[in-house]
Symmetry: C2
Subunit: 461 residues, 2 copies
């Protein structure tokens, strides 16, 4: 290690400061920055302000920047001679429903002892507040040892990741010169398995759509109208049932255009990871992989596209019973995308399919929710080898190159709009329950995550 | 008219007392006696008490009688020598969702002027509080003129009609001797068309079922699990989509067992009614009858069975978007039944069908909600001709013998359990929006309904 990084001192400072770093994270998680629900807009803004204040206090030139939606926080360290880095995270969080299944107030986080060690429990503890703070804490320790922040570092923290990032691409376009760097670092992914660090080299894309079918001008009594009047729930159900066939394949015309088979190398690498789909599913009470026939478990979640119904509602769903023909029914559906699948073409095919099921008496409305193609990284950039070595030193195991079933649209935006390589490194665990009740982040992920960034910053000097 | 009925005086008393009768109805509608939602149980009981107090004040021997659920109100006049009558209504009401579509608090009723005359607006104004009070007001006027109530009259008011009447049949069985009469009168139906009175001679039955499909032990992130884990919404949607075919026929095996074709006489009578299905649907913003091909509109709603999805819920349905694979999804479905269709056989066929769509990784639960066969009246009882003549005198038009698409299970219970003929006469209108937002009852229905009962009571002496 180059002596001027003073890495050992930085790591020792991180270890010593961990309790206070946890206090800061808890303060951050306490802010209910739910970006998808307009009612929480003031809290989203409060989270941006909190983050900006933290960064300014560390010596970053930090500001809360307006967009057409929730703001972006930007922070810059002093310029440097070497490689410049752009670090991304998001400070917004998922909604908390179903709230009844939480064991504690999701926005009253605390450190809990578990058989697998201490965790921070709360909405956003892992996704992405705990993760994004790992680098902030690494910078704090660096500043404490060096008197200066790591040079050439720009941080960008988004407030709309959980809402499909509608305003991030325009922001990147408008601020491209300020944001462009040698390499982008994104901290919103996980470890491969307990204790094994990972660098994510491919991400699935996402196409989300809300479908609203309307029939009568008001809810009807099924005694008076049943058998005569169109039922929008039935229309919606009929439209959604045919989208996947009995073998798990999506039937929308052109859906598989751009889907690529795995390379032999990647297929072999993934087989070496020893993923056991049934064991993985058993953690959530399931056992049978239900995707396309003839695909391995990792292919299903990393390299095959999906169609899923994420929400459906219509008619009376409360206690008891109401023999109603509702005026409307709605569903939220999404596709995970791979290869070069075109989100807009798939959205169009979905709309054509649904319209074909809507009788003349009904209307259908579509509301888009997010749209991003899949993303593949160029691992020949030497930064990948350097980061892999740094992670290996911290965790004592080789970092795996893995895929990811989720979507991080900003990675593709950085590639396409800013022409940058992107490296996705994060410390989440499979059991973090992100997007679910009782989300948590391991204290080990937080502490060793910050140490990992200190090593990576030192290695990429 | 026999002079001892003093009918003219009773009718004049009703006309004079209408404003105070409306005040009483408004007071009654103010009680939110929603029987399907356990949270309203105290209000249901309060409505029973209110009704019992009204009847006791009129001189009925009235009591609130316990059941395993909401209570029944029973009231008896003095014995008489002639025909005995049992009058039925229900004091419970439907839920009010979607509350946002009401123009006023559903439980803060008021008289409103409309182009079609004055109406009482509020939940239950028509179904069934306004209707049941028509006879109560007729009795009040009778008492005022005669000094005594009409002899040989028993009133029974149920509090669980909108919940499928789970405890009514046991109550009738346990109190059969007390309740048995020459004829049952039920006031829970409508006029055929504006200004034309009707006696309902056939009712569809009902089979309701709630279906709950469960998959993972918690909600999952569709990025981490999508493509691999079972999605209970998709399972439910697949199961529900196939239950009706492209021609509107229900595909459950044995579903049409016991469905009878119309007699030629009834087919001709119904054709004479000049029902225009498209015009009927146009009142609720629709135009195309969507039932089985080749059936007339009145057949579809009065003499053909249906399968309807009354409610569906699963995953995230709030504002914005959540890429979740939910742990469970649920639907409430119901069938309207005709002829001698067996509700239990159809329930069993539905369960078999749904189970066949549930993969090994998922579970399904069924919760029954109501079960009653269809019901046909014997119109050869001379009381039908007498009531028809009385209605004609009040409304100036011949009363139609009609079918009804809704279910009034108590009619069948009275027939089977108490061995009584049943006569269904009510004054609701097609546009009363029962079970929907902005329910109303025409003041004319209320006033002339009470007058109609006075005439019928006089005619059936």
């Amino acid at each position: 290690m180059a002596p001027d990084t003073r890495l050992d001192e930085v790591l020792a400072t991180l270890d010593e400061g961990l309790p206070r770093a946890l206090d800061r994270l808890i303060e951050f998680v306490r802010i209910p920055s739910v970006s998808t629900d307009p009612a929480y807009a003031p809290e989203v803004r409060r989270a941006a302000g909190w983050l900006c204040d933290q960064l300014a206090a560390l010596g970053f030139e930090a500001s809360v920047r307006e967009t057409a939606g929730h703001p972006v926080v930007i922070a810059r360290s002093q310029p440097g001679a070497g490689r410049t880095l752009l670090y991304y995270g998001h400070y917004d969080v998922q909604p908390v429903d179903p709230i009844a299944l939480w064991d504690r107030d999701p926005f009253d986080p605390a450190i809990e002892d578990t058989p697998a060690g201490q965790v921070i429990r709360g909405r956003g503890a892992s996704d992405d507040k705990g993760q994004l703070m790992t680098l902030v804490e690494a910078c704090r320790a660096w500043k404490s040892v060096h008197g200066t922040l790591p040079a050439g570092l720009t941080l960008i923290f988004e407030g709309e990741e959980e809402s499909g990032s509608p305003n991030l691409a325009p922001f990147l376009r408008d601020n491209a010169d300020e944001l462009r760097a040698s390499l982008a670092l994104i901290c919103d992914t996980g470890m491969y398995a307990d204790g094994r660090p990972a660098i994510t080299t491919q991400l699935r894309g996402l196409m989300g759509e809300e479908i609203v079918v309307r029939a009568a001008s008001r809810d009807l009594h099924s005694g008076n109208f049943g058998g005569l009047a169109a039922n929008p729930i039935q229309v919606l159900v009929n439209a959604l049932a045919g989208i996947k066939d009995d073998t798990g394949r999506v039937t929308l015309p052109g859906f598989y255009d751009g889907v690529e088979e795995l390379s032999n190398q990647l297929r072999a690498d993934w087989e070496d990871l020893g993923f056991d789909a049934s064991e993985f599913l058993s953690r959530v009470g399931l056992k049978d992989p239900i995707g396309e026939r003839g695909r391995s478990g990792l292919e299903m979640v990393w390299n095959r596209p999906t169609f899923e119904i994420n929400g459906i509602a219509g008619g009376y769903a409360g206690d008891g019973f109401k023999t109603v023909l509702p005026a409307e029914a709605r569903a939220k559906v999404s596709c995970r995308l791979v290869g070069t699948q075109d989100p807009q073409a798939i959205r169009a095919a979905l709309q054509v399919h649904v319209r074909a099921h809507v009788p003349a008496d009904c209307t259908v409305e579509f509301h888009p929710h997010g749209s991003s193609p899949a993303c593949h990284m160029d691992v020949s950039d030497p930064a990948f080898a350097a980061a892999r070595a740094a992670l290996c030193e911290e965790w004592g195991r080789e970092a795996a190159f893995v895929g990811m079933g989720g979507s991080i649209p900003v990675a593709g935006d950085f590639q396409r709009m800013l022409g940058m390589d992107v490296m996705l490194i994060g410390f989440g665990r499979d059991d973090d329950r992100i997007h679910s009740p009782n989300e948590k982040y391991n204290v080990e992920s937080f502490g060793k995550g910050a140490r990992s960034w200190a090593r990576i910053l030192a290695a990429l000097r």
